[in-house]
């Protein structure tokens, strides 16, 4: 029983980061209606950035958090301005292929610049554990979970409580009507994309003490985030948080009972079941 609880809790804790990755994706999809298949590649960029900050300047990931956020925000905004803004009106399939191509470009750029080696950050905390009752948890995971959930909740509050947040929700509901009410559509889209990329960058930074950086690290997280977002109801932020935690638990149990090879298959199976029986997502409004 204790073991089951341990498996469950570690699932929840890895789910926190999945939630943060997915929240960014849900925000971009919800407000711009853009499916960003290159989402995971920004996570990869942030992990590399954290790695270089640690190796060259000597700042550990938690010390370089703000710089990392700022850099990812700039990269996000530039991506939006240079590429995404041109395809806002384009066909859905054009947008999907474009982001797929972008992910190809970013992955191979990383491969060219930094080779396929795994880059680990070894700080003291990497191997630390935290004890809560009889549970043993890795400290970086606990920190990642707390910051990830904190950031997700902050985003939710921002969308609900501030004027800009209300404007973003209005754009998500009906872009044309929002524009008629005097909301600058393109600026709102730009802001949403920038925030979404910053959040996935934050997730990459939080993962960097636990997970090695390599050019293809993002692709797993991209597909995972898509599954989370579909399960959570596509555009809903709380749905994405719940979906992330759920996938964390499913992955954890699949790994415990069937073996690590089946972790991916388990959440893909869950994804297909959700698509067949609850196409609006487990937490989505019908």
């Amino acid at each position: 029983m204790e073991q089951i609880l341990q498996v469950f809790i570690s699932g929840i804790f890895s789910g926190g980061v999945y939630a943060l990755v997915s929240v960014g994706l849900a925000l971009i999809f919800g407000i711009i209606g853009l499916v960003n298949f290159a989402h995971g590649e920004y996570l990869m960029l942030a992990m590399y950035f954290a790695y270089w900050m640690y190796n060259i300047i000597g700042l550990d990931p938690y010390q370089s958090l703000l710089i990392n956020l700022a850099v990812m925000a700039i990269i996000g905004y530039l991506t939006y301005k240079i590429i995404m803004e041109r395809v806002l009106e384009a066909d859905h399939s054009i947008q999907i292929i474009l982001t797929l191509a972008l992910s190809m470009v970013l992955q191979n750029l990383a491969l060219m610049l930094w080779k396929a080696d795994y880059r680990n950050i070894r700080i003291d905390m990497t191997t630390d554990t935290t004890h809560i009752g009889f549970l043993t948890l890795s400290t970086p995971r606990v920190v990642a979970f707390v910051i990830a959930i904190g950031a997700s909740v902050l985003l939710y509050m921002f969308l609900q409580k501030t004027y800009t947040g209300a404007a973003m929700r209005a754009v998500a509901q009906n872009g044309k009507a929002a524009q008629l009410m005097g909301i600058n559509l393109k600026r709102t889209y730009g802001l949403a994309f920038t925030i979404g990329i910053s959040l996935v960058g934050l997730a990459g930074l939080l993962l960097s003490p636990i997970y090695p950086a390599f050019p293809l690290v993002g692709s797993n997280f991209s597909t995972l985030a898509f599954i989370v977002v579909v399960i959570g109801g596509l555009t809903s932020i709380p749905g994405a948080i719940m979906g992330g935690l759920l996938i964390g638990v499913v992955e954890s149990f699949a790994g415990y009972f069937a073996g690590p090879a089946y972790q991916q298959a388990a959440y893909f199976l869950l994804f297909i079941l959700v698509l067949i029986f609850k196409p609006n997502g487990l937490f989505g409004r019908s």
Partner: protein
């Protein structure tokens, strides 16, 4: 005259397709012949993908799954039981048809992003299943096909027979696409792709139409998978069923022009040689050739989202007008 030919039944494109078989005979060595084989094969594969996704405008990013089914079915039958790959190809097609019926039956009603994601999910599940069921598929180690040349084994020492085989494959897929374009199925499929509600209101059975095209597309892709396996003579889940392979179908089709019978062929004729030559010449920097391909794709999407084929037609029209104008003077 070229203009007339272009507008009438794609005659020029047919001539290019049929004449392309001469090319391998003039290529100096096996390296370039290999590129020709891959170009024909991928032209056929991209046209197969296009048969559903192009005409119906619904992206499948999971077609590597059917490539994998075709490759594994024939290879396992051949290696374990000595059954000729020609028969294995039919068996693979049958298995792909069943898989496509199951997958299509559950996912074709999904709209937009949901459908796209479900195709990826099915392909990934199949890949994981192939890796984990080690007893049957040898898992991540992959399967070697023993080198025993002969027509019945679909193995040859020279590249030329492979060029013929892949060329015939490409021509057959093209013929099917062109035939379908002018059939009730084709018209219905294009109508569903443009506006499903409107098509349904006009009496098109959209789910049946999509399912038939989806199964056809999967079976043709699977045939290509068998040829791929017999040509490479080694298959392994992560290379055959990779997302990159699934993306390559789209890359070629988009470059030439989605939803036209010859677009994917044009895409493959342009991109497969470029891609292979880049890989050959830029091999010192790993990643560079995919990087360049990605940039090409982004450029095409941003500036020529309809693909190159309409552009080529315009170019020919322009040439004709020019020549007429000079003659008039």
């Amino acid at each position: 005259m070229i203009n007339k030919l272009l507008s009438k039944n794609n005659s020029v494109l047919w001539i290019i397709a049929l004449a392309s078989i001469i090319v391998p005979f003039f290529l100096p060595n096996r390296y370039f012949q290999d590129i020709a084989v891959m170009t024909f094969l991928w032209a056929g594969l991209a046209c197969s993908w296009n048969l559903y996704s192009g005409y119906c405008n619904r992206l499948s990013i999971g077609h590597a799954a059917y490539l994998g089914i075709g490759a594994y079915s024939s290879t396992l039958l051949y290696v374990n039981f000595g059954i000729s790959p020609w028969i294995g190809m039919i068996a693979g097609g049958a298995i792909s048809a069943v898989a496509a019926l199951i997958i299509g039956g559950t996912t074709l009603r999904l709209r937009g992003t949901f459908f796209v994601l479900s195709t990826i999910a099915f392909a990934e599940i199949l890949k994981v299943m192939t890796i984990t069921s080690k007893d049957i598929t040898k898992g991540a180690l992959g399967v070697f096909i023993p080198y025993e040349p002969g027509f019945s084994n679909m193995i040859w020492a020279s590249k030329i027979p492979y060029a013929f085989l892949t060329w015939i494959y490409m021509i057959i897929v093209l013929l099917i696409c062109v035939k379908m374009e002018r059939s009730k199925l084709g018209y219905s499929l294009i109508a569903v792709g443009e506006n499903q509600e409107a098509a349904e209101n006009l009496g098109v059975n959209s789910s049946r139409t999509m399912l038939i095209a989806f199964v056809m597309s999967a079976v043709l892709t699977s045939f290509g998978g068998t040829i791929y396996a017999q040509y490479i003579m080694f298959i392994e889940p992560t290379s055959v069923m990779s997302l990159m392979n699934s993306i390559n179908f789209i890359l070629l089709a988009i470059t030439g022009g989605m939803g036209t019978a010859f677009g994917p062929m044009v895409g493959s004729f342009i991109l497969t040689p470029i891609s292979n030559l880049l890989r050959g010449y830029l091999s010192s920097v790993s990643g560079l050739h995919t990087f360049v391909l990605g940039l090409i794709l982004i450029a095409i999407l941003l500036f020529r989202p309809d693909g190159i084929l309409p552009q080529l037609k315009l170019f020919f029209n322009g040439l004709i007008k020019k020549s007429k104008a000079t003659k008039g003077v």
